[in-house]
Amino acid sequence: MTAATTAPVRDEDDDRAPASGDPFDQDRLPTPPGATGTLLRSLLAPMRGRVAVTALLLLLQQAAVQAGPLLVAYAIDRAVPAFRGDDNGPLIAVAVGYLLCATAAGALQYAFVNASARVSQDVLLDLRGRIFRHAQELSVDFHERYTSGRLISRSTTDVESLRELLEEGLQELVMVVLSAVYISVLLLWLDLGLGAVAVASFVPLYLLVRSYRRRAGRVYRKRSTAIATVIVKFVETMNGIRPVRAFRREAANDADFAVLNRRHERTNGDALLEMARYVVGSRITANTTVALIVLWGAHRVADGSLELGVLAAAVLYLRRLYDPIDRLGMFLNSYQSAAASLEKIAGLLAQTPSVPEPPAPRELPGRRAGLPGRDVVFDDVRFAYRTGGEVLPRFGLTLPAGQTVAVVGSTGAGKSTLAKLLARFYDPSDGRVLLDGVDLRDLTGRDLRREVVMVTQEAFLFSGTVAENIAIGRPDATREEIEQAAKEIGAHDFIAALPDGYDTDVRKRGGRISAGQRQLVAFARALLADPAVLILDEATSSLDIPGERAVQRAMATVLKGRTAVVIAHRLSTVEIADRVLVMEHGRIVEDGSPAELIDRTGRFADLHRAWRDSLA
């Protein structure tokens, strides 16, 4: 057993390098350069038309809004003298113009808010769906490394900050840019000199915005990481509330949480202070420009080279030009945090599933008449972690259709890895796993999951009713089929005794379901799925003996004709097997029928004796 000395004590579930500097540790998946931009473009591309319409609405709305001061200038410089000369035409024009502009501004505002909400909601819907689907498609080994809290914060807080950007920020940005362009053009048109001063003020403003962006970007990235650690701690505590209580972790947890929470508080405060600095800078620039323009303009009005109305309009416009600058800061705020979030989301989406869908899928031959099972062949398979560390040295194994195989061996022997290769949670490093002669990698996910089902040791229940939880095995199953499966597995009695029977919500009043009962539900699920190959991983651990026996009896019927791999920690499970594999350090060291192995003098015979003794 050379493997014994080379392989460290490592469990079958352990699929990660004992690494420091692992990108997963720092919550920083490598985001390929440009991935963030590509993601954003691909989100917006399908609604190009609607984005254009929304932009047009805003363009018109701003035009209507910005007409106001122009009308003021016209009223002071033209309509007043004309009115004095008994010509009230210009004044009526001003009245009508203002009426039209005001109504149009309101109506366009209404249309714009609706249109932009539709665009941003559709982008969010798309993005949420993408993250969700992608996370679901990523392989199990990814999930074992990328903690659930981080995944959750990707699709909650990170999406939320993007929502803020889309709902408030983006609209602000376009509005600010648009009104800046409009107003600059109008000012230049009203008076070239005053306009030039206003435009010149954009230079310091631009520099300010640039430095703010750079500084705030750093702070926001830190903040987004800080909140993710807060979430991880929160979720971990709430999901492990019983041991938290029993071991009086409350105070220690409070202290740990306080550290994380304070770090978030600090970064949060830093972000707000950056914002304060920016606001002061931008306001000073704006107000100084206004003073300069008034100074110069007033001199020119005094010497007659500028009309009073134009100066009034210029001042009114300047107010409008600089008013939204604070809000530009707010936009940059949400932009920064959204950019940080989007980068993380892009990093997640850039992860490729390590068990990809086949480019050219192959069909499985139909199941043979009367035989629900399929042949399984491990053809020269070897499995090692990508970081090195061989778990399964090269081996070959054929499981004929309909055979029930029990795999036994101590912790770390490679039983789970074997099962996960068959379920294609992992792909082998070398060699092939064949199902009726077809490489698993050539099957579509849909075909594979119809044929191969794995019941794992954790009997997790989803929110919803008991019936829905069983129906995960086959969503189109009728109620009769669900109940039939529950009856066969011996779960019917306890389900029927729940307050609402099969319709009891597992998270609601009276829906408490013990660990053993949850495992029965998991079995009913597997039974309902009706697969060709069934893999059971330590799945009977929380059942009492009668429960285990009932399941075994049901399994004996269910497994008839199917190919089954049972990872057994309990030797009673082995009794229903046709064949036993004993694994040690990644190798199959014994292989035969239970009776044969008991008669030999190997590991299995020892194990079996120990088990018999324990029953005595």
Partner: protein, 623 residues
């Protein structure tokens, strides 16, 4: 589909928001100062048009360059003051507001940790998480903007209107006309928007729950290839959320439309009227300019009321959601007064002090302390029903009488779902007994502080949860100090694999660390239960995930620990039962038989059935 616990009767947004006061109180001085400064800054903004008026009617009309310079200087100074004041306001509130948010989050976390386990059974953690993150961020934003600016804008509008009325009261009245319809729209809007906002926030919580479950249950989803139906459920929920958000947008669009149109119309009317008056000579050009710039300066305060109200409304629902959880009563403290608490604590102290000693010393001390006060763990007439179960339903546990003598270990056996785990949860008071009492060495556990109770009772759960900490820290959570205890506990639980992990016992595990197998986690959980040499040990099927060899080794080591510990062990298998001195059979919520393993095998057909798997009927026939 996940649903949220129904909200309490609706209160007005203001009354809801008032509940934030205790959190805002510590920073009230800064917050008020900041608001005053903001008002000051806004009013400076309103003075600027008056300077303009003075310039137009004075120096410009008189062609007085010096006056123009002076006016511009005034403008510059006012502008600088405004900028610095606004910046000062933000600087004042930046840290305090982050602090308020953090305090509220810490409080929520602290409170949630102390809510009864039954509460957590009912509430999906996604709903709790969305309260701790999204809702609190909304609240911080509310304190930063709407709260201040609703006040600031109100004052600004008032001052602006007064300035306008003073300059020309007819024009001022014209400007005021739209105030009434705008106000009415705001009130109607506020009502309808609050409903939509609440719905959206709850839907976000539901969505979070689906995300969380799909991540936690990923192996099941993968195993059955169900990511499509999971994605379907997610799509439906997120589609529903989109619908609500669009509804919100329509409401917002309406109010924004009204708020933009009506004041603009009033300004237009004022402009035309003003122009007529200027032409008549009854109004100076400077006054008209000042009037209009004041009116335009009020545009933002008026426009922003719509979104400020929307934010306040969302903040109100966020507050409601926050306090829904905060109002849930935490585990009650000591029942029936605290008189016995201190005495017991005093008695416990020497025992804990002795923990550092050798096992012999421990044993000697154990013997010394037992006979005097020790009467073991006793269940007296204990009944239990989940607090949220209807009061006429059958109790889960019914009139349990059970006595585990000091140093004795008792196995608890019963069919799946018979209430074994519930019974064990009563000892550390994860659930409270409905009737009867449980005593430790004669002291009612309901009269002990939980802190003390849980320091004397150590538990290993069926589902071994490890926390994000090192292996060593995880084990030492159970008590004990230092290397020696740790090594001993790991040896008892046959968890020596820990030494061979990449960083040995300092290897990080849990959510953020190395993932261990079920068997490894279970052994660490067992080590955690025994490390503090507790007086009382509760083990819920502690060996279920171990293979036969490991199980045998753990049993051998555990037997030595159990020799002088009072223990309650839930057992599914004969091998586990044999760890115990006696066995109690739990059936239908009652203890139906107590005795040694062999006695019960002979006398109780149900027990024989549970232990051997042979049908109960056959056993009966044999008998």
């Amino acid at each position: 589909m996940p649903t949220t616990p129904s909200p309490p009767e609706s209160r007005s947004a203001v009354r809801t928001l008032l509940r934030l006061w205790p959190y805002v109180r510590p920073v009230r001085a800064r917050l008020f100062t900041a608001a005053l400064i903001a008002i000051l800054a806004s009013c400076i903004g309103l003075v600027i048009p008056l300077v303009l008026k003075w310039m137009v009617d004075g120096p410009i009309a008189d062609r007085d360059p010096a006056g123009v310079w002076l006016g511009a200087l005034y403008l510059l100074l006012l502008g600088l003051a405004e900028a610095l004041l606004f910046g000062f306001r933000r600087w004042l509130v930046a840290r305090p507001l982050s602090h308020v948010e953090a305090e509220m989050r810490a409080d929520l976390y602290r409170h949630l940790q102390r809510l009864p386990v039954a509460f957590h059974d009912r509430w999906p953690s996604g709903q709790l998480l969305s309260r701790a993150t999204t809702d609190l961020m909304l609240l911080r934003m509310f304190l930063a903007f709407p709260l201040t600016f609703l006040l600031v804008n109100g004052v600004t509008i008032l001052v602006g209107v007064i300035i306008m009325l003073v300059q020309d009261w007819t024009l001022g009245l014209v400007i005021l006309v739209p105030a009434v319809p705008v106000l009415i729209t705001c009130v109607v809007f506020e009502k309808r928007y609050s409903g939509a906002a609440r719905r959206a926030q709850d839907q976000v919580g539901d969505l979070t729950t689906v995300v969380e479950e799909s991540v936690l249950g990923i192996r099941i989803i993968k195993g059955f290839g169900r990511h499509r139906s999971q994605a379907q459920a997610f799509r439906e929920l997120s589609g529903r959320l989109r619908g609500t958000e669009l509804h919100k947008a329509r409401l917002l669009a309406t109010i924004l439309g009204v708020i933009v149109t009506l004041p603009e119309l009033a300004i237009g009317a004022a402009l035309v009227l003003g122009a007529v008056q200027v032409a008549d000579g009854s109004l100076s050009a400077g006054t008209l300019v000042a009037f209009l710039s004041t009116a335009l300066a009020l545009r933002w305060p008026v426009d922003s009321i719509g979104f400020l109200l929307a934010m306040s409304q969302e903040a109100a629902t966020a507050t409601e959601r926050y306090f829904e959880v905060m109002d849930a009563a935490p585990e009650s403290g000591v029942r029936g007064g605290t008189s016995r608490g201190p005495a017991l604590r005093g008695a416990a102290a020497p025992t804990r002090a002795a923990h550092g000693g050798t096992s012999q010393a421990h044993q000697a001390l154990g013997e010394a302390r037992m006979p005097a006060v020790a009467s073991g763990l006793r269940f007296e007439n204990v009944s239990f029903r989940y607090p949220d179960a209807p009061s006429d339903s059958l109790p889960v546990l019914h009139r349990i009488d059970l006595h585990i003598r000091p140093g004795e270990s008792l196995a608890l056996v019963g069919a799946t779902g018979s209430g074994k785990t519930t019974l064990t949860a009563l000892v550390p008071r994860l659930h409270e007994v409905t009737e009867g009492r449980i005593t430790l060495n004669g002291a009612d556990i309901a009269e002990m502080s939980r802190e003390e109770l849980r320091s004397r009772v150590a538990v290993a759960f069926e589902e071994p949860t490890l926390f994000s900490a090192s292996v060593g820290e995880n084990v030492l959570m159970g008590g004990g100090t230092g290397e020696e205890d740790l090594g001993r506990a790991l040896a008892v639980a046959q968890a020596d694999f820990a030494h061979a992990l990449p960083q040995g016992v300092d290897t990080q595990v849990g959510e953020q660390g190395l993932s261990l197998s079920g068997g490894q986690r279970q052994r660490l959980a067992l080590a955690r239960a025994v490390v503090g040499r507790p007086d009382f040990l509760v083990l819920d099927d502690p060996l279920s995930a171990l293979d036969v060899h490991t199980e045998a080794a753990v049993e051998a080591a555990l037997r030595r620990v159990l020799a002088d510990t009072t223990a309650l062990i839930v057992a599914h298998r004969p091998s586990t039962v044999l760890l115990a001195d006696r066995v109690a059979l739990l059936s239908g919520g009652r203890i139906t038989a107590v005795g040694t393993h062999h006695e019960l095998l002979r006398t109780s057909p149900e027990y024989a059935h549970l232990m051997s798997g042979a049908p109960a009927g056959e056993q009966e026939d044999q008998r």
